[in-house]
Symmetry: C2
Subunit: 427 residues, 2 copies
């Protein structure tokens, strides 16, 4: 941990710099696999699954039998927990539905905007030791609410050719239409080009390691959209004397266990709190299973003392955290003033893990300062809006001359003609 | 023009293929200019302005005097037209404002979503013979409504070191905060990295030639967002016997005059209409100033006869047009069924040029099939949504166990601890 007292404003960028990843040498590998999958489809997919996941699959599509078997392996207790989380995520995302927006901008000129679902979406769920089934909920639930027709989930198989039971169970619960055992670069390439087994989709969602991240970037070159650019997860806590040091420490540690490159920042107007949080972290960290990971992330963490809430807010907006916890006696100041953050957690009883799993908000959020410009995943991430206009003959008489004048000034005569030819008939 | 009668479904992709641009050799140039601008700032910018625009500028920031002088050069007639268009665009985009969405997902668990403006945006407006001041309205008006703080407009200077009067007039009218005489790749590089003169922005909007398009793509690698990927403009008209051939022809020609690579498609259930539209195009095209451009685009255009509205709708959704005109006695069928389109124009008195200038909808729209996944520019393009959650001690008691179970199942013990440590105190 590094404690900084009133750092100068010009040093903020250096202090809060994110770990940068060099992806140059990954790009070549990603490019090669994309070319191979585009050309050879499933044959290439199998090859890379054997190579990277160490398993030869005869059928990569998950069957109904496998899904049912997965369900029977999960405890009723966990099933109940998943269903409570699902309910909360569902109500929050259903509330995000918007109605048709319609106005008559000029008499006879009716304009409206409607949202329509993206027809085909791909959800990527990483494999590894811990099955991230919560991400299945976060992506599949809004996709289903939006009305996406094809919801394809890809996740790498383990050495036995299986996807974790929890992932399969969550996927069927949330309306995923096809589950495929494929991971890494080859999964993203498959969703981008389509193969005999993997449907081509219009937009790819989901987290992943740096190979998956670079593959998603490359996918955009082939006209596939992605949820957002990704980077290591991060948490910034603002806490003053109204906060409880042990809670703050537990939140910082929950971020630290994600990965060695996790970003953990505490900003405070209380030197006492900073000292107490440090002590608490040292106490709590020893008991963690993922101690090694947490230790490295904590070693790079920053505890920053600033003199006022105003300076704190400026620094936080500059940093644009993915997760932002506010434990302040003046929380309204921060709620109203925050301009750049993915998701905000307010008060002593709102740990980040609440939003990670079950409060109802989405946990797929912009990292790496991207909250300055990107939203986290939400219902709109699965729709696009279309505008409509219907003009009556009266309406065209009202705005026709305006269009003619502007088109002429832009030197676009045929644009003008399209109006003139109609107006002539209406005279 | 090529007329196709009942083309087979498997041939649709080939028939409706968009012109593909190879950008390989552009990429090197773009990369070089980016590196140079990043390293040398304004010095590099001046160099490229001299090289590409043929002018040496002592000051590239447009002054208040220049803006005032520009205003005095514009006719009152055109000023009135611009103000009417502005009013319509404004009312349609103000109507898109959304309120805070707030729900209590579980007793004591309050979640809400709020939109906040993107603080710094860059608007790119191409130069050239015809000043595209309508695009200034389409980008600056929603940026101002959203509440963006810095709205920076870049447009290339002409040989006299000037930006067109209409662009300057529209920019000041719509609240642009800084206008800079810089175009092409160097403008996008400047907005990406920031220079002594050009502010670094978070998101870049606006059309441009293929150099600008590739530069915008590259900008995303440096953590700048862009409005959407761009391609040549396109129009698809569906028309049956209720349509008027001369109107349809005028609409197709308005699209054709944009560029030689413009896409012009007519889909119809009436062979008579197709024939009549062909005749009308031949008649109307001769009178156009941009005859050469229109001729080439029309030569590549497709007139497609299909047997039913259902087949037509399938084909149109497959194509996903940027602009879609419906002139049908059964327009509701198409309005309800369209899944993929940028903006839709309904009836005989709604030419595309209405939306290009003055109906109120935005004319910055997804081309190249991107309407399958992207919205056109709208108010939300200038905001991002932030989620908030505030949980009471009662609320945490209600969902705490759910979080603990799920965190444990994902092997994230510190996530669980952040809840357990609080629940313990609440017992």
């Amino acid at each position: 941990m590094k404690t900084l007292i009133n750092p100068k404003r010009e040093n903020w960028p250096a202090i809060l710099q994110r770990p940068t990843q060099t992806v140059e040498n990954i790009e070549d590998t990603v490019n090669q696999i994309f070319i191979d999958v585009k050309r050879n489809g499933d044959k290439a997919i199998s090859k890379y699954t054997a190579l990277f996941d160490g398993v030869k699959l005869t059928n990569s599509v998950v069957t109904t039998e496998e899904i049912n078997a997965a369900g029977s392996q999960i405890s009723n207790e966990l099933k109940l927990a998943i269903s409570i989380a699902k309910q909360n995520i569902e109500s929050f995302h259903v509330a995000q539905k918007t109605r048709k927006i319609q106005i008559e901008t000029t008499p006879g000129v009716n304009c409206w905007q409607e949202k329509r679902p993206i027809q085909k979406v791909g959800l990527y769920i990483p494999g590894g030791t811990a099955p991230l089934f919560s991400t299945v909920l976060m992506l599949a639930i809004p996709a289903q609410i939006a009305g996406c027709k094809d919801i394809v989930l890809c996740s790498p198989p383990n050495k036995e050719g299986q996807i974790a039971n929890e992932i399969l169970y969550a996927a069927q619960l949330c309306g995923v239409t096809k589950i495929i055992k494929v991971g890494g670069i080859q999964a993203i390439a498959g969703l981008t080009f389509g193969t005999e087994t993997i449907p081509k989709v219009y937009k790819i969602f989901g987290p992943g390691n740096q190979f998956v991240t670079v593959a998603k970037q490359l996918a955009t070159k082939f006209n596939v959209a992605i949820d957002m650019p990704a980077g290591p997860s991060e948490l910034l806590v603002f806490a003053d004397d109204s906060a409880k040091a042990s809670y703050v420490a537990s939140d910082l540690l929950s971020q630290a266990e994600h990965g060695t490159d996790s970003q953990v920042v505490l900003v405070s107007t209380s030197k006492t709190l900073i000292t107490n949080v440090e002590t608490e972290i040292e106490k709590q960290i020893c008991e963690l299973q993922r101690l090694d990971i947490a230790k490295q992330a904590i070693a790079n963490s920053k505890l920053i003392y600033v003199e006022s809430n105003a300076v704190a807010l400026d620094l936080i907006n500059d940093y644009a955290p993915e997760h932002f916890i506010i434990c302040s006696e003046n929380e309204t100041y921060f709620i109203d003033g925050i301009q750049n953050a993915g998701s905000v957690f307010i008060g002593n009883y709102t740990p980040e893990s609440a939003g990670d799993y079950a409060s109802g908000t989405n946990h797929t959020l912009p990292t790496n300062g991207f909250s300055k410009v990107y939203s986290g995943v939400n219902l709109d991430s699965f729709t696009k809006s279309i505008t409509f206009q219907k003009i009556t003959s009266e309406g065209l008489k009202n705005i026709g001359n305006t269009i003619e004048l502007m088109a002429e000034a832009e030197g676009l005569q045929a644009h003008k003609n399209a109006v003139s030819i109609r107006l002539k008939d209406l005279k």
